[in-house]
Symmetry: C2
Subunit: 404 residues, 2 copies
């Protein structure tokens, strides 16, 4: 008997038919002898419907009340799934955040879980009940309703798995695992059997949208094996653990990409150490997150800096650099918002030379220029013109995954 947390997203509970299918799936797991905590999102579309009601009243509604409003979405799902499981003759009980003793801080709309008292969850499990828990929601110490922000239901699932020391946390979604790259771009993309937390963190932050970073981090912190699998065709999915890949495994485990990038450059900056700090502080002041940073020293002691930012911050970033240019006497400011980032990720990279060589050769073979490069122990990222994104992804996938 294992203790399993099963999380189902909005698409998985998007209609009565799908809720019935989830009930069947949960009951099947129960019949295999496991203890189960199910964590649910709102039915797909419901959260947006509620937010649009709020926006009709106030384009910037009270964040406390918005959380009161949107948490009804999960409350509806858990009640319906509990009914469906009870109808199948199994014992089930829905729990909301206050009933499951999930305490968060009071940052409405983006709260963090501070504590889960597992006594109620354990009590229900010990009595043989399937627990159906509302994801995405919490209560602060004053009893206010809070929500965890984007990907909050994944976070609830992983944090709860940690609190009850589950044997596995299963994230059911509309894809059957984590792929070596985006299958919509590269039809030959393969499902990974396993991937490490480290790799998954890089893949998630680089745009593989299967899992939210926070939940991968949390699973890694609690050392709870995380499995991504499909609600609609459940099989082994992809298992995310601390296990290192075997020696025979690929050095690169996946190719990630992200489109919402913009490139900002300031050219001919006088070589004074405080200048870069000044620019980055200004960005921070305006809450513009900088991802990649590169510098090129010119021969006349001037420096060019290049940054990537989220595309939404492009216009403001350009403006701010314009102000800096005047203040510090730089030559010019240029930008490009039609850029994208592709990355090769793999823990095997640590011990294998030549990954970078293979990568740049593959891009060069397709005449794709690298605009900016950044590397870490387990990944290489390259900024390229957005129009080459699909071509670049296919080129790298083919270089690392297709048998020659």
């Amino acid at each position: 008997m294992s203790l399993i947390v099963q999380k189902f997203g909005g698409t998985s509970v998007g209609s009565i038919e799908r809720i019935e299918a989830v009930a069947d799936l949960v009951v099947k797991t129960k019949q295999q002898g496991h203890q189960i905590v199910v964590v649910l999102s709102a039915m797909s579309g419901e959260t947006n419907r509620l937010i649009s009601l709020a926006k009709q009243i106030d384009p910037r509604p009270s964040s406390r009340e918005l959380d009161v409003l949107v948490t009804t979405g999960e409350q509806v799902s858990v009640a319906l799934l509990a009914m469906a499981i009870i109808k199948r003759g199994h014992s089930a009980i829905s729990l909301l955040a206050d009933q499951a003793l999930i305490t968060t801080n009071n940052l409405f709309g983006k709260a963090r879980i501070q504590h889960i008292d597992s006594s109620r969850l354990n009590h229900e499990l010990e009595h043989g009940r399937i627990v159906i828990l509302a994801g995405f929601q919490g209560r602060d110490i004053e009893g206010n309703i809070t929500t965890l922000g984007r990907g909050g239901t994944d976070t609830t699932a992983v944090e709860v798995a940690g609190a009850i020391q589950a044997d596995e946390c299963q994230i059911y979604t509309d894809v059957n695992g984590v792929y070596t790259t985006d299958p919509r771009i590269e039809p030959n993309a393969k499902r990974m059997e396993t991937v490490t937390f480290e790799e998954m963190l890089e893949l998630a932050s680089l745009g593989a949208k299967v899992l939210q970073i926070r939940s991968v981090e949390a699973a890694g912190r609690y050392n709870i094996p995380l499995r991504v699998l499909s609600t609609f065709a459940p099989d082994q999915g992809t298992l995310i653990t601390y296990e290192e890949p075997k020696m025979t495994d690929k050095v690169v485990s996946g190719i990630a990409h992200t489109k919402d990038e913009a490139l900002l450059s300031i050219v001919g900056v006088p070589n004074i150490p405080t200048n870069l700090a000044k620019i980055l502080q200004l960005f921070a002041e305006y809450a513009i997150e900088v991802d990649m940073i590169a510098q090129i020293n010119q021969k006349d002691a001037k420096i060019d800096y290049a940054f990537t930012v989220h595309r939404n911050d492009y216009e403001q970033g350009l403006e701010l650099l314009g102000l800096v240019q005047l203040e510090i006497g730089a030559s010019s400011v240029v930008g490009n918002c039609n850029v994208a980032k592709i990355s090769a990720v793999g823990v095997g990279m640590k011990s294998h030379a030549g990954v970078a060589g293979t990568l740049f050769q593959a891009l060069a073979d397709e005449n794709i220029a690298a605009l900016l490069i950044s590397t870490s122990e387990i990944k290489i990222s390259v900024l390229i013109e957005e129009k080459y994104l699909e071509l670049g992804v296919r080129a790298l996938h083919s270089a690392f995954f297709v048998e020659k």
Copy 2:
């Protein structure tokens, strides 16, 4: 400065526009210097939508989970109204049953409020906040979500008014008060300025659908003045208090009617004292509520009994009487499910003779036969053929309310 509870039903918060109108109305009351607790129903149609989702899963869904499901309706309303009031620059906070410390028993779907700890409500009011409270819901001592059944939001409003010792409990609805009779039947029906709790209880139980009996009872118990008024054209409405009407007031305050009646008779019952008890116990066993009871002694020491029951219980009632007939050797069983009840209600009746005379004369003038009669200190009820209902209501209204 008064402390006022304002309750708005589903139609009053049935759309964003109406929620905005309620916000205006609440803010206006606040600006008059009052402290306010608002109690809300779900947006009209929402509770039915949720129940129909549940029924798609299970025609008889888990009652605990059904309460988890349907309470989301009120949660949505309170969040939206709080947003609308906050947007108008006033301080407001939504509270759910657990936050407002409303404890009920654990009869899901028809729970009774056992205790309201007013400390949180008082705390918010003392800080100048308008409290927006979800009606219809509670928590049992184990923290399970419960609902109060039909008219539950009125009950919440009145019980909360009692707990915080409000100066007045205002029930906003889609009519502007309690009328001397149903204005759809008698266009000359007049709005009452005041009515006593006793009268209102009789009127409510006799089919004047403005207020639920339980909330009138509770308001009377706490001696909280109750006011019924229209959300859409608020004026003085009708005030329900313990005050006796002035001597100049009418002896009859209102004419009520109810259609869902059925008449059952058992004829020629041997005159043995246990026979009536036997019949009534059998009805009770099958949960058939008996309203009016009449008996006619025949000259040959046999007795005829007549009963009224809810029309839904008509067929079963006939069947049960058929069994009794065989057992006790009665002559026959007859029934009529096309009957209706009209009643004249008024505390003035206690001290005025002649009310019954006026009433039966008015019916006789229209050739309406009384099938069964029952009286109490403050009401006279008459069962008639249903086809004469409207005519009878108009005849009685004219007899008691139109100046001759």
